[in-house]
Amino acid sequence: MGWLALTLSAAMYYTIPKVYNTEIYSIKLANTHFWFVLIGQLIFSITMWILGIQQGAMWKAISPEDGSLTYTFMESLMGNYPYWKMRTFGGLLFFIGLCIFAYNIVMTILRAKKTAVAEGR
């Protein structure tokens, strides 16, 4: 998700202005996009990473005293909820970043078309 999304947007940041023979609408917005996506993705990855290890450990946990399972499945599921909430927040940041990116690209294209019309091309 992070690797491909950032690579693709980088490619579009490079090619779209070339195709329309113009400059990108706003470098500042592009930077904002980068940080939103990066932080959103990091929250996403790290929470899921912790969750996976915690979930696996809870599924495997066996009481040393009587050899019974320590947690029920429901308890392991309840343990996931805080991480799922954090992931939602990370995903939200990611989505906001993508919206900024889309706005930036659309504005670049619109401006390029306007100047093209104005110059009678």
Binding site: W59, A61, I62, L69, T72, M74, L77
Partner: protein
Amino acid sequence: MAGTIYKKPILFAVVVTVVVLIGTIVMMVYPMLTPQMHPKLQNLKPYTALQLAGRDVYQEEGCFYCHTQTVRPLKAEVMRYGEYSKAGEFAYDQPFLWGSKRTGPDLARIGGKYTDKWHYKHFNDPRKLFQGSNMPSYGWLADHPVNPKEVEARMKALGFPYTKEDTDVLADKTKLDALVAYMQAIGTAVPRKPKPPMIAKGDTNPLATDPNAIAEGKKIYEMNCAACHGVDAKGDIGPELTDKE
């Protein structure tokens, strides 16, 4: 003499193709046709028409996205779910529904674990039985009748030999009935191992009068048992547990 074949690219390509094809047939296609590659447990029965309809509902609703149907041969997993999955269990599963993600628990040994009544209650509102469960409610399936024509077409496509009487039972069944019937059929080809009792016969419970243990036990009861036997142990889905004293 032998080196000349390398100088004829087309002939070489043909010879290579033939050799590789022979290898593929001997090593792959032929073994696929032998009965050893299609194991079938002795107890395994084909799905009934209703169970097969339930299996379709299971696929329609995407249950396999959150529930697996394979118990791996690992200690904790066998303890949690039951006997690990055997190759011969899936002869009638086309396609198999092993899944790959357990947001909910594994269902490979769900058949016969609970009563039908439990399943209806759980599908209607999972939160009534498991507080905090994120399983969606599927009570609305009860408003959708099973389409016997559709089931018949699928049975024919899968080569299930059913008679008219077998499909007649579908007439007044809903999708929820079918799903519950399927739940009860999953993994039943492998006999359930009886759980050893926590306290052996003749032994006395060392915690019998310990008030801490009683409080702890009450918590466990409320978490795991109250849903079926009632908060006051008067019974609901499960039987009454009080000794009526």
